[in-house]
Symmetry: C2
Subunit: 346 residues, 2 copies
DNA sequence: TATTAGCACTCTCTTCTAATGAGTGCTAAA
DNA sequence: TTTAGCACTCATTAGAAGAGAGTGCTAATA
């Protein structure tokens, strides 16, 4: 049904269309790809491919354009190939740029997104690390003055969260130190869920006087250990999407840019789709959201200490340069992971 | 030269043009504004106003559109009127929304920008607080484990900044406490500049062993006390700018959106233009940047404890609804200031 | 049986022309 | 000083004609 020649024709069309954004006719194929057959034969093959749902015609006398299904076939084929060996020189060069610009994690991701967008000329996306079931490494209460205290949580990825709060009645430095030590001894190594339980255990019954303080701590622990709510989405090079003829219609442009700027839906989408594969791709209508029906998203993961905790990717028309982008994203994925391990992990 | 009737005609044209975005003809004015004269008279006045550089013609047989100079005249006139009394009900309603959504300063500004954009249907801007010459309120060094220490600075606006760093050789808890106390005693109340001097004074000569630690602290102090570099720019409702016919041309849209997304230039612009007036307006070519030659920016300031430390504003075509926007921005300005004082100061 | 040349047909896109209409500027009268 | 009247200008729109790219079918060919 899908013999080799049909596939060759299909991939030739996909390739041409990715480059030109114009419907591809049979003669274009015979001219640019040496398949050893005439345009009439290609026409017949194209007709078959259309019947298979792999090609579409904008109108009866136009060339063909690939369907989402065709892109999926093509992308799966790419992903099944052995990954191309990375250009180490290029990789190192990018790594140096990223290292120089980034002192903090969020900054690293933002810079990565920026550089990624510049290199690829696509709009890029990145999410900040998602700490799920992180553990407490250290907690500390500090007096700022008699009525203000500062609370600090460090998690096992060495991320620091803090908050200041005011007290009804003054607390002495000593009391606070004792409380700090107590919290450390009881909570170190626990996850957010376990902390919830610990607070309700007998150990904490005696601290009834400090209930007010304890309650204030919970949201900070949440932010530090189970920050699903606090994951940030960075996008860079939004206007690059306007370079694609697909979005030359102002309403389409508005729709996709709004979707990206809105962040909520996109973030949810990035957080829920698979963290398993290194590269994950959704093509056009594979996506739930109607605003994305003409767009594709490619993402790659990054990790700290072996734990996959975030993603970086690009968004653009379904007519994407999948091959190039997959390789570039793999490169960024390794780079970010390496830099994170350097920046934080030991 | 500019008698009252001319002004009336001019303001009528500005008003109409703000609403319609179409060149205004003499008949439109006689129909919609009761000036008691015929269209021929208006035509003569318009001709005079054009000679004065206040009106332009897109082409010889079109109506007139206001020039930047005309908008400036109009805006100065508005700013010289007594501020309209604020709609307290509306103000309170917005305040409640802002309070509910905002637990932190950056979040407050982002939410404010979002709500501002929704209410006005313009693209909004906000910058996070700029701490210039803030003072140290409290510093603290905390051991996380033997080779990792956490450094914390609280400034006089109760903003907390921190960083973790690693040591070559272990430091005991006691040493660190002594060092914390020493730093507090010497640095409390100092500005960033003064801290630089203090570090070079005799007091710190004895700490030669801790030079490594001391050097790590400087960037954190900088961030906490003189954070010009770290001021963030939030923009919301980018796509709303695409609703204006001025930007229906995709290249114009790209240019302005890039400029906003780039952030650097816009941030610099917001930081340097006057913090003196409550509302500040730049119209079209009054602006240095060529990308803004067809756009206007209106900003209002906000403060903590009486100190003006940031801005919120809108950006759009020079054909802006200045009157409405000035009032809305004043409303946001007061609200943000009030919420900040509630959230932090006291 | 698979491939190919040839040709009629389809549909979009561009170019050209003519008509429409909003608006100005000038002149002469009130 | 104001106004009515009118010729003139220019952008915008609609319609018509022509060009061009491409398909799909048929009949001939290897």
């Amino acid at each position: 049904m899908l013999d080799e020649r049909k596939l060759k024709v299909l991939y030739a069309i996909i390739n041409s269309y990715i480059l030109s954004a114009e419907p591809i006719g049979s003669r274009t194929i015979t001219k640019h790809y040496d398949l050893g057959v005439s345009s009439a034969t290609i026409r017949n093959e194209m007709s078959d491919l259309e019947e298979l749902g792999l090609l579409n015609k904008p109108h009866s006398s136009a060339g063909r354009i690939p369907s989402d299904k065709a892109y999926r076939l093509y992308v799966n084929w790419i992903l099944n190939q052995d990954p191309m060996t990375q250009d180490e020189g290029k990789k190192e060069k990018i790594k140096q740029i990223l290292i120089n610009e980034s002192k903090e994690i969020d900054q690293l991701l933002q810079t990565s997104a920026k550089v990624l967008s510049e290199i690829t000329n696509y709009t890029s996306l990145a999410i900040s690390p998602q700490f799920k079931n992180s553990k407490v490494k250290h907690v500390q209460l500090v007096t700022i003055d008699m009525r203000q205290i500062l609370f600090i949580v460090v998690n096992n990825s060495d991320i620091v969260k803090n908050a200041i709060f005011k007290l009804d009645k003054p607390v002495s430095n000593n009391t606070l130190n004792t409380l700090s030590n107590f919290l450390n001894s009881k909570l170190k190594g626990l996850s957010f869920e376990e902390i919830g339980k610990a607070f309700n255990s007998d150990d904490f019954k005696e601290l009834i006087d400090y209930r007010q303080i304890i309650n204030e701590l919970i949201p900070i622990f949440n932010k530090s250990l189970d920050n699903n709510e606090n994951v940030e989405l960075f996008s860079e090079g939004i206007t690059r999407i306007l370079n694609f003829p697909e979005y030359k219609d102002i309403d389409k442009a508005k729709s996709i840019i709004s979707f990206i700027e809105e962040k909520d839906l996109l973030l949810e989408l990035l957080l829920t789709n698979s963290y398993k594969q290194d590269v994950s791709i959704t093509i056009g209508n594979e996506n739930q959201h109607s605003q994305l029906k003409d767009s594709s998203i490619i993402t790659a993961t990054y990790s700290i200490g072996g734990m996959t905790i975030g993603k970086i990717g690009v968004i653009g028309p379904t007519r994407m340069d999948y091959l190039k982008l997959i390789n570039t994203l793999r490169l960024f994925s390794t780079n970010i992971t390496e830099i994170l391990d350097m920046l934080i992990g030991k």
